[in-house]
Each structure stands twice: as C-alpha cells, then as structure tokens.
Symmetry: D2
Subunit: 443 residues, 4 copies
C-alpha cells in the first residue's frame, strides 16, 4: 500500500532527473562541510533531501582516514555556538525569566543536532546515520574531541529509537532470507555456522527467535533473542543446541530458556533495548504458550576468571585456602576440562567461589562485578543456579572456567527484585544458592 518516499524516486530518476537534481550534482563537487552548511542554513526545505543525499553519497566515497578527518571537521564546525551562549548567559544574568531559560536550551543546542535531523531526510537516512556513527565510535577510541558529536548522535537516536516506536517480530523459517542472513551474521554469543544451523534454531516447534525492528529500518534487526522451550531448566549449552535432541511438543513445554541475546547495530551502542526485549518476549510467550511456568536464561559469567586472577594475586587470602589455590592452578593445564578426577574436586570449589563472586564481588558503583549479572539482576531477575562445566568452548573455559548461570524471571517478583536492587543493591538468589552460600562462607 505504501508509496516509496520522494527520495527514492529522486534516486531512481537518474539522468532523466530534475533540474534541481542536476544542480545538486554540481554541489557534490563542493566539499561535504560546505554542503552541510547549506543543509543546516536550510534555504528552503525543498532541497533538504537532495542535499542530504549528496552529502551521504560523498561520504560513502571517502576512505577510512578521510571519514575520520571529515568527522573531526564537522565536530568543530557544528559544535555549540560558544559566543551566542555567552551572550545569552549575560542576558540571563540580567533577566532570569523562564522564557530566557527556555531559550538557553535552544541556543545551547549543538548545531550538529539540526544537521543530523536533516541528514535523516535522505533515502535510508536513519540507516546511513547509524552507519556513520559506527565510524564515529571507532574514531572516538583515539580522538576524544569527537565526544561532543557522539553525544548529539546519542541524543537523537535515543529519541528516535524510543521504545514506543520499536516493533517486536518473530523470526522463523517463513521470514525473508534477506533478514535471516543478518541473524546469521549478527549472532554474537553462540555462533550460527550456516543455514542448516540457523534452521535448527528457528524451525522446530520448541525454538523461538524474536527481534526488535524500527519502522525506518524494516529489514535490519536491532537486537534479537533466541529461546529454547524445554521441560526443565537446562544446565549446559551443548544440550540446548544438540541437533539430535528430542523436540518438545509445544503443549509440553514448561520452561522458556533465553540462551542468546545479540545486539545487531554497532552504531546504536549505548541505546539499550535488551531489558525491554526480554520483558516483551516473556509476555509474548506467556500469551502463546499458557503452559510455560519458568522464564530463565542460560548465561555466561564473562568476568569470573578475571576476578579469580585478582583474588589469587592479592586480596584473596581470606577466601582462598592454599589447597584451593593449588587446585585452581591445575585448571590452567591444557585439557584440564577432560580430567574427570580433577573435576570431581574442582567443580564444587568453582561453584562455591562463583556464589561468592555473584553475591559479594562488586564494582565501584557497588553493583555486581559481573556485567551480565548487572544486566539481568538490574532487570528484576534472580540468580537461580550455577553450573560447572556448562560451556567448555575455549572462550567459555578462558573467561569463566566453563561456568554458566541461570537467571530466573518470575512474574510475581520482577518488580520487587528490580526495586530492591535499584534502591539497596540487594541481589535476589534462589534457596539452593542461599544454602550453598551459607555453607561456603561458614567454612
């Protein structure tokens, strides 16, 4: 039903095009900064999309170095107008009227914001701006002077990607291939090796995949979560992904396992969707499958090994006994994860250390040291269980000694957990982990 945007027609016009398009062709010979001036000075909104298009076309022809240079130059050119601000500050000091305060906000707006808003008029403007910020984030690592410009992107993206505008869609074997290939590419936790692997994750009746989309980037997932429907809370990832597992009939599933969440757009870093996504998917699944009782994750503990290293090198004396340290040392030998005798001793130690890690190791803001724990606990989940030897991939062994963790989303308790965490930093943990913790600390 929908008719393409004007900019699409313009793009399609090619050599047959408009007078004012050909005029723009001359403009493309001008440098980007000067085109950006025209765009913002905005003699007439008519040519807005034509100039915006011209800017992107030039930009896309630049190499990496030129792009950084370009961003640096734009960052200066479209910074806040210090003079105007200082003039207005004087005015406020004389007349601190509400009107003047409101005007201050407008006057202090960095000019880059209007630039970005108008660039959005180009064909696929939103997507191209997201790609532009990718370059910006990369440049930021070496050039802190770009921070201001990045703030402007974040400010507008936060407004445009407001949750009120996001659309949750199921991804399955009836989804267009052009979107599925992006799922293959963007999966960041447990890589999807090929189309057959993908198919195993979306086609069986005990598998689900949901993604958020933005109306202006309708074939680009922003973030997605992979879900396994099971009859029990799983303790390791291999069992979840095994190709030859028995498929659970939809009416028999009692547990939804969120085993992978992947952000897709590097250019949207810092615009968070994950927490809303999980909660919407919980609702969607609950509605579709009333038999579900538990919503859990099967998550890595990505900072556990790093914390243990800390512990061993300095302050851990009170926690680690000499024999613990000796035991842990054995877990650096190649192939230790297959030494069943060792594991018999090591696994209880690791679980015991892990329950202390999750409940006692904090960062400077007095939140859990573990980044994934911060995400889920902050979201209102509780820590349900800790599994040794649950992810024996090289990455799993290196970062967490093979540990994986279940976080539980229990509908009656999400809000309370969330608030206790937000106000007092309290961490909700299951009875079994409480017992374990008591046992470990009483030693």
């Amino acid at each position: 039903m929908s008719v393409a945007l004007l900019s699409d027609f313009m793009a399609g016009l090619g050599h047959k095009g408009f007078n004012f398009l050909s005029r723009t062709r001359e403009e493309t010979k001008r440098d980007i900064a000067s085109l950006c001036d025209s765009l913002v000075s905005g003699r007439g909104e008519i040519s807005c999309f034509v100039i915006a298009e011209a800017i992107f076309q030039r930009w896309e022809m630049l190499d990496a170095g030129q792009r950084r240079a370009c961003l640096g130059s734009l960052s200066k050119r479209f910074a806040p107008d210090a003079e105007a601000i200082q003039r207005h500050i004087k005015a406020i000091e004389k007349y601190p009227s509400p009107e003047n305060f409101y005007q201050l906000h407008a006057i202090s707006e960095p000019r880059a914001q209007e630039l970005i808003r108008r660039l959005n008029h180009a064909r696929n403007g939103t997507r191209r701006l997201v790609q532009m910020r990718e370059v910006l984030l990369d440049a930021l690592t070496t050039d802190r002077s770009l921070e201001g410009l990045d703030r402007d992107f974040v400010h507008l993206f936060t407004s445009w990607f407001n949750r009120g505008f996001l659309q949750l869609k199921p991804i399955n074997w009836d989804t267009p291939a052009s979107i599925l290939e992006k799922v293959i590419r963007y999966e960041a936790v447990h890589a999807i090796t090929d189309w057959d692997d993908l198919r195993r994750r979306i086609e069986p009746e005990d598998r689900r995949l949901f993604a958020f989309f933005h109306p202006q980037m309708h074939d680009e997932p922003l973030i997605f979560v992979e879900v396994a429907l099971t009859t029990a809370i799983p303790g390791d990832i291999a069992g979840v992904l095994r190709p030859d597992r028995t498929i659970v009939p939809r009416d028999e599933a009692t547990t939804a396992v969120f085993y992978s969440i992947s952000n897709c757009q590097m250019g949207l870093r810092g615009i968070s969707f994950g927490n809303v996504l999980i909660k919407q998917v919980v609702e969607e699944l609950r509605r579709d499958l009333p038999s579900l009782r538990a919503f859990v994750t099967l998550s890595p503990a990505p900072d556990f090994a790093r914390w243990l290293t800390h512990l061993r090198t300095d302050s851990g004396q009170s926690i680690l006994s000499a024999s613990d340290i000796a035991l842990l040392a054995k877990a650096s030998v190649n192939g230790w994860e297959r030494d069943t005798d060792l594991l018999k001793e090591l696994n209880p130690l690791l679980r015991g250390l892990a329950v202390r890690y999750f409940t006692q190791a904090k960062n400077r803001q007095n939140r859990p040291f573990d980044s994934v724990a911060r995400f889920h606990l902050g979201n209102g989940a509780s820590l349900e269980n800790i599994h040794a030897m649950a992810d024996v991939s090289p990455k799993g062994l290196a970062t967490s000694y093979g540990l994986m963790v279940n976080y539980l989303y229990k509908t009656g308790e999400i809000e309370t957990n969330h608030e206790n965490y937000a106000e007092n930093g309290t961490i909700a943990i299951s009875g079994r982990l409480k017992t374990l913790l008591k046992h470990v600390t009483s030693k």
Copy 2:
C-alpha cells in the same frame, strides 16, 4: 507479522494481571504530578510503560478544567532547572571548555522533555501525546505561561515526525472504512457531506487522494491532499466537484489539480508536512501517469476581502478610484453574486485588484499578505491564474469575493522559484498575469 507491544498485553491483562500492575493501580490513586515524578526519576525502566499508562488513564478521566490545571502544574514542575543552570553558568565562566558547553545543553533541557519521551512508552503513546497537546494549544490561548511546555512538545514532535519517518499512502475505495471516516471528518476545505460524496472523490479513475501517515499512528492520517485529473486547468471548484461531470480516462489526463489540502491532527499544529506532501504526490503522479503535463492547485484567496477592507478604509486612495469603491460597495448586497450585469463590471475590477494583492500586498516580513500564497510561492510554485466567481459558497464570497487562484508547480522551475522567493521575496507569475498587472498598474 508484527507482535503487539508489551503495553498492549498489559492493557489486556486486566484483573488477571501482574503484581507490578496491581502495584501500579495503587499508584493511579496518587496524583498525576507525583506519578510523573516517578516516571522521570525512573527507578528502572521496567515500570516505565506501566506508570506512563497510569498517567494517561488518570489524565483521560479529568474534565477540561482539571486538564488545564494539570498542564499548568506540570509546566512548572518540569520547567528548566534554573538553579542547576545557574550553577553551571558559573562553571562555564570559569572554564569555558567545549565539554562544559555540551553539558550546558543537557542541563538546560527542560525536564518536561524526558517526561514526554517516557510518556511515549504507553500504549498508543504518540497518539495520546498528540491529543494532550491539543488540550495544551487550547489552554495556551488564555495562559501564556504554558508556552515553554508547548515548546517541549514541538521540539520532540519535530524530531519524531521528521519527514524521514513519514509514509505516503494512497487512499481509495479499497481503504479500510475506519480510515475513510476520518477523511470525511477531517476535510477542512470543501466539506465531504457523506459516504457517497467521499466515494465520488476517491473511486473514479480521474480522482486521487494521498495522505501521510506515521508508523506509530498507522490508522490516523496526518495530512491529506485531494487531486482531480483533468484535461485543462480548471477555473472554478463547482466544475471540479460536479457529480455528473464526464470522467477523464487516465491516459487522457494532462493536468493534476490539487484542490484541497487538510491537516488532520490539531495536536501537530506547527509541525509542517504540506510542502513535502505536495512534492511527493507530484512525483507519485508523474511516475504513475506519464501523460501529466501540469500540476496546479485550485486555491482560495482567504485574506483578500480583509485586505480590500483595509484598502477602502485607509491607504487605498491611490489604488481605488471613487467608482471602484462604489462598485465594490454593491458587492455587499445579498445575492450580488447572481447579478450578472454587476458581475460584468465587477469581475475585471476584482481580478485587477487581486493581481495587485498577490504581488504587492505584503506582511511585516515582506512576504505576501495572503497565507495560502505564502505557502505555495514559498514552496516554489508560480501564480498561474486568478478566477472571479470561482467559489460562490458563503465562505468563498465572504473571504475572497468568490475568487480562486491556480498555483502552478512546474518541475523545471520549482527550485529556482523557491530560491528567488527565499532570497529576494520574488514572486513568480505567469505571462498572462504579468500582462494583466502591467495593464492595471499603468491605469
């Protein structure tokens, strides 16, 4: 394909719902301002949509007076934070670093903006905010202290309704009735009397209607334009709308007449779509009907009578002769528009005055006195022709002595016209009107 938003589920949960929904029910007993505090203080984004929903539900139960009071209170509560700003101003005076200027923008942001962004998380948030601004605009007419709050709405709506996000859709007899009834209701220029009248405007092959939609308000047109396909530039509206006219086969149409543009959302006043709409529709029609040669409007001259009154009362001596004044006086007698003898004398006078009106009567910004002329000429159209006795409806007679006007959009000239107008205020007029103007002024 798309799954409803979480907020929809929540809304549907009703009494069966969530713990944290019921908790919110208590919150609905708290007053709106305090709920808004919670929303913005934002302990956890989890409950964002629940609180936003609660605020809207309370708001929608208020009567008109209560709503105004509520807006007044929010306006004060969520104004810019004067103290924080002044503290920061001091900091800037000490260290006028770029960083500090960027922070000033953030600090000077009225808190209402974050409030509005979070209200948008509610079910149908965008639509409800647009409706809230309707009330605000109404309240503004008597209470100027709300101007700041209105700026915040405008700031965010401008960002959200960025042209990059709008969708152009054709409206026809296959469109859902729920949208068609809105077209009937919103038509502001030439009223649509009933479903049969509507059908005559959208079903025949020589009629078109296009509207802009926003992805978050998919069944609410924002603005629409009605188009008649003809074989010549029409001189009066009755001929265009006549039910018994001969229908022009689509391949024979040479002219697209834009005879009515209606804004639909009062709450979006000041967020302009009209100029982009016309240009997109021109492109759409050109693509679909290559036989089209001319794109014109058939527009009212809504301020002509008012200008003539001016002229007669004070400064018009140089323009109006005594006999002119006498002749015009006859056009205030009931039924004058049917006095063919009078019209024979009067029509040439009116057209002569009108050509001066359009080219010489200016407002304080040195733009045309006529608001419709400002819109189309500013858009890059030229003034093509002036027709006497072209709209003999009571409104037409009262505001413009029955005059109607064609503005012409000629693809090779739009941009030049637009720029000449923007830079020098130059008004493009047709050869025939130039001749008429020369004749009139040389008298």
Copy 3:
C-alpha cells in the same frame, strides 16, 4: 507480492497492444458462437485468454434478449455429442471393458464444460461466469431447454467452489469500503439502511460478521452471517438491533446469536455454503471467546402463514377449533399487532400452532414444511424456542404472524441430531417445547 495475470496486462495494453491482440480484435467482429468454437477447438492455448476475453466483451455488449438467444444457441451447439456417444455405446456393447467405461465418461461430457473451463482464462473469468449464470437462471424460468447448460455450470462451480478452496474472513470496520458496500447491498434478511447502520453491526465489540470468499473473487463475498454476542438467548429481533442497547463486554458474552445469513451471488444458486459457514464460524467464535456457551439463531418462520392458510381452508378442522379460527381472523385487521388485549389471547394460540407446525407439518419428502427449519435441523441444530411478536415488520407479520424461532447448535449434539434427522427425519426439540407440544396436542 503477486503479479497480475497475463490477461490483466493484455487488457491494459489497449491500443499499444500486441499483434495477436489486434488479430483478436478482428475476431470480435465474428459472432460469439463462432468465437466459442475457436476457443474450444483450441488451436493452441496461447490465444485462449485472448479469445475468452473477446467472447466476454461481446457478451457484455448484448442486451437481455440477445443474451438469452445467445445462451440458447450455445446450449445447442455445446450439448453432448449424441452421435459420438451412440458410436461409443456400440463399442461398449461389444467390449464392455473398464477402459471403455472410462472413455464413455469423457465422450459424454457436454462440450459446454470445456467451453466454460476455457472462458475461465479471461480476466476475472470466474466472476464473469458467475454473472453469466445469473442470466442463465433467469432465462431458465421460461426456457427449460437451457437446463442442460445450467447443469454444466453447476458441475464446474461445484468443483471450483469446493469448500477446500473457500476462505473465511471476518468483516469489520477495518475492512475496505469496497467490500462493505457489498455487504450493505447483499443483506437479504434484515436490511442495512446506510453506513451508520452497517457500522452498528460490525464495529461494537459484541458484533461480528463473517464471510466466505473465493481466492479468484477476492473482493466479492459469497455468503455472510451476522452475529450478535449476548448474555441470553434473545426472543425478538428489535432488541438485538436496537442502536441504544448496552454493549456487552467481550468477556461477558455467553451466547452467540446468528441473526442473519445472506447469500450474495445469485449466479451461485444451488452451490450451498451455509452449513459449512455456520460451523466454521462456531469454531472461530469458540476459539476467540472461550466464555461462549450457546450458539443459536434468531430465525424467521417464513412459511408459517402459508401453512395456516392451508389449515383454515381445508384440512385444519382437526387442529383448529372454531374459536381458534375466529381468533386468527382478527389477526388480519390492520394494526392487530398493537392490540394488546387480542395478543394476550392470540400469542399462546400462535405458539401452540407453531410447535405443531415445526414438528408435524411436512413436505412431500417428509421433511419440515418450513424451509429455514429444513436448513438448520438438517444441519444438526435443535429447535430451542418459539417467540410470538418477535418480528413485527410488515414482512414478519405477513409471512409468520410475527413469530421468530431459535435454533440451537450444541456442540456435543450436532452430529447426532444431524444423523437422526437424516436417517429418520427426527426433529430435535428442547424440553420446554416438548412440554408445550404435549400440552397442545393433549387438548
């Protein structure tokens, strides 16, 4: 997604068209019968749709008389090939092999069947054939020689409109206006007066409308049923349709009332959809609204008055007492339906007669005399209740003395009722009607 059929392109080509289209233009000068010969002789399927299109275009230019003549001529021309059949009969008599019996079926196929199949290749072929049969049915009333041709239509339509191909769709206020206007036009039981009336029947949450569509006639409903959701089995139609009634919230509805079923396509007479429609809608409603307990109709008794007339004129002595006859006579006076004193006496009499009518009055096939009763009882419904003064429209009074009837579809019993009816003609009636019947017959 779907690309238009070739025939659409051809139709759109107009004067720019194809060599082989222009060749066909000459063919349109030939008479229809000869074009039909070409179509069936079918030198090459290439031109099939071109010739079919030409035939329909000629046909559509004929007047009513010419169309009848044309059908008569086709009927003869494309009758079964008697000679070939008789030759084959001889062969069978010699060799009654299975092969020969199979061939007999092919040889005895009236040539009209292949003609109709090929006419279906034209643009909108199916729809145009349905319209052609409308004319045929009309002609049949005076010309029985067309019966064979009509059988051929019925044979193919039965195959094409096989239930396996029908699509059930809900009709509501979001349905395209082009379909809604057909609902207004086709409603045959309780006329829909205008768009507002229609809206009252489809927009409120306690109203539903479902229609069957065929994939090849996607904007033409074949049959539709109107449903009211209520909290009790209603006894009169006015209450169901009252604009100011209280709307029943969807969760509180216990009863679905099928108060109107309308066939839309006269040209599909004899191809029955009604029974399948009701059952699919029952399933659809049950799934959507688990709170529903009863599925009933509110139906007319269209042949009751006619039966009573019979009774009074001849055989009714045993049933009607002299005082009954006198009482009934009063019900022919204008305005009798408002004479409350009369109604006090008359209503019990009418209900008593009606229960006998439904259970005892039979047609020649020993099925109920009442056509609507035959439909619903044959479908597996039971007779639930009889209401006097339930439809006081002129039509209601004239055909049924104002009586209306509830038929009940009770899921556990549909099949049993249906079989008992089919095998023994047994009519399922409610306990209350059994009591009434006993009381009436024991008198």
Copy 4:
C-alpha cells in the same frame, strides 16, 4: 486477515475436541476403503472434513506397499458403475432425449471423482491429493489397471489448476526461506548447490526468478523459470552462471534469457503450466524493463545424441559420410571435449547435423524429435541459434554432445509461428540457421 479453515481448528482441538470428532476416532479404526464409502455416501456434509481427515491420516501411516494396495482397491471400488451405465444405455436407446444424454454423463462419472472432491475438504486437502497422485504415478509404472483412477485425478486437477486460478509471483532474496529451500530442491536443469548459489541466481539486479502458485498451496511453487538479463544472446551456460561475471545494470539489459524451467510437483505431471508461465513472464519483464528487446531461451537438446546413435546404426548413410562417422567416433573418448584440434573439425559437423536434426528429425506425429524443441516451437518461438560446446557438464556431453540452443520469443511473431506450427508443422528458424541448413543440405 484470513481465518484458518474449520479443519485446522478441528486438527487443533486434540483431546478437548468434539463429540463427533471422537466418534470419528473410532472410524479411523475402520479401514480406509470403508471410510471412503462413508465419505462418498455422505450422509451429511457436516462430517465430510472429519472423515476426509481420518482417511488421510490413515493413508499417511501406510508403507509403500500398502499404499499401492490401497490405490488398487480404491480404483476398483470407485470405478464407473458398469451396471448403472448399461441400464441407462438401454434407456437412451429407447429415448435418445437430450435429458438422457446429459444424465449419461453424470451416471458414467467414475465414483472416484466424487471421492477426490470430498477428500479435498481435509486440511491441506489439495496438497495431500497431489502427493497421493505421486504414489499413484509410481504405481502406474507396474500396474496399468490404475490408469482409470489416474484419469480421475487428471480430470479434477485440470479443473482445479485451471490457469484462471494460478498466481505468478517473483521469487527473490526477500522471499521466505521456507519457499527458497523448495526452489533449491526442485531446480531440475542446472542444480543449485547451496544457499550462496541460490543467492547469486535471485539477488543481483540482472537475475529474476518467477513461479506459479495455487491459492490452496501458497507455499509450494508449481513451476518456476530462471531468467538472466544480459546485453546479448548468450551461447553457453557457464558464462551465464559464472559467479564473477559483471552484473548488468537494469537499464542496460536488452535480452532476457530463460535458462531453466523446473516443474516442482511430481503429482501434477501432465497438467501443463510451462507455456503460460513463459508468456506471463515475458509480459511481466516487458512491463518492468522497457529496454528489453529479445526474449530467448538457452536450452538443452536432450535427444540429439540419441538421434545420432540411430543415424549411425541404420538410416544415416545418406546424411553421414564415412569421415563424419569416423570423426563422431572420436567424440566417445574420455576428455574429447578438451581436445581443441578435434573440436575445430567436430564443432562445424555437429552444428550442421543439429540444424538438420531440429528441422528434419520427426516423431510419429510428425513433430520435432526433440522434446524441448516441441515445447518451444509449439509455443510460438523460433529456433534462433545452435551452439557447440555450450554445456560441457557430463550430462550435457552425454545427451547432446555439448550443444545448446536458443529459442527466440519475438512478440510480433509468436502467434503466427504457433499457428503455422500447429496447422502445418512448420518450424520457424532464423536467417543464419537457414543459411547453415542450405549449406549443409547442398553438400
């Protein structure tokens, strides 16, 4: 919009279901033939889909041998009713009235036709019937007594898959993966090796793929054609499929090459779609890409080698010289296709023989011996060119000595070619091939 069919609900009801479903469960214990009796005897259409569903469920549990046995038994049970036919034959001999001839058609209809029509009521009935015929076709190869039953399938499929009901859809990278995997599976000419290979055939702007679908089998392509857009008529398949070829911009394409046509449904063998598909795709491409001038195939010559073998063994003396025969003999040595010296001599010989083959070698019906040639020439194409060493795959070498052929569809000439071919067997060939033929035959 569309609501699932009743049968879907029934299937979904499971143990919660209907009385009359559970009754049917008992019926599933009865054998298929007896269920088929019930279905056809059809006391009440109510249970039609329930019984049909039960039949299919039983059928799908049978093994291959049981299925053949089942078909054999149905074939006998639902054969034409010989007795009834013979009774009616007697009646006809007495009264050869039109009425009696019409009745003969009905009476001679094999009962299997009604059986198949009613089986179509089951969930996915059409698809399951198509699969059933796959089994039937397989069984037919050893059991000719099933021919009659197969005729019944063909009769109904021809009616149901009438071109008037088929939908042409483009297949591209935005098509659901569930359909794309079928394209990979069904490609019968030039195998698609994996998803990357598929992508190369549908994503670039110079590639197209179109398929026919039936509304009742919306995710099952019936037949598809692969098209390459080029700037010249290609002479070999490797060049067309080369991954590293330069992509032709859509505005520069002058030639559409149909390089592969694949039937997808074995169960629809004998129901031809190919000719209509090509013509619709020609129209679709012409409309989308006005720059196209030529529509050609790049086709195999699948029966050429077989014909040559004939020639060499018996009647070829007049055509093949001794040196020709010696030369051809060399083309049976492994690797001959890479012997460039040999090819220099052999290629002209092969092209010369091929032009005779296409124009002179006939089957018993006096049509070309080559099956692909029969298809395209019968469709109205002309033989444009013959290429040696154009398909050097093992299959290409074995069946056609590596030859490939262009057939040309030229819009002004399709109909004439088709008619000349149909009436006189005339084969249209290009000027260059005429010259070649003259040269070869004059030797």
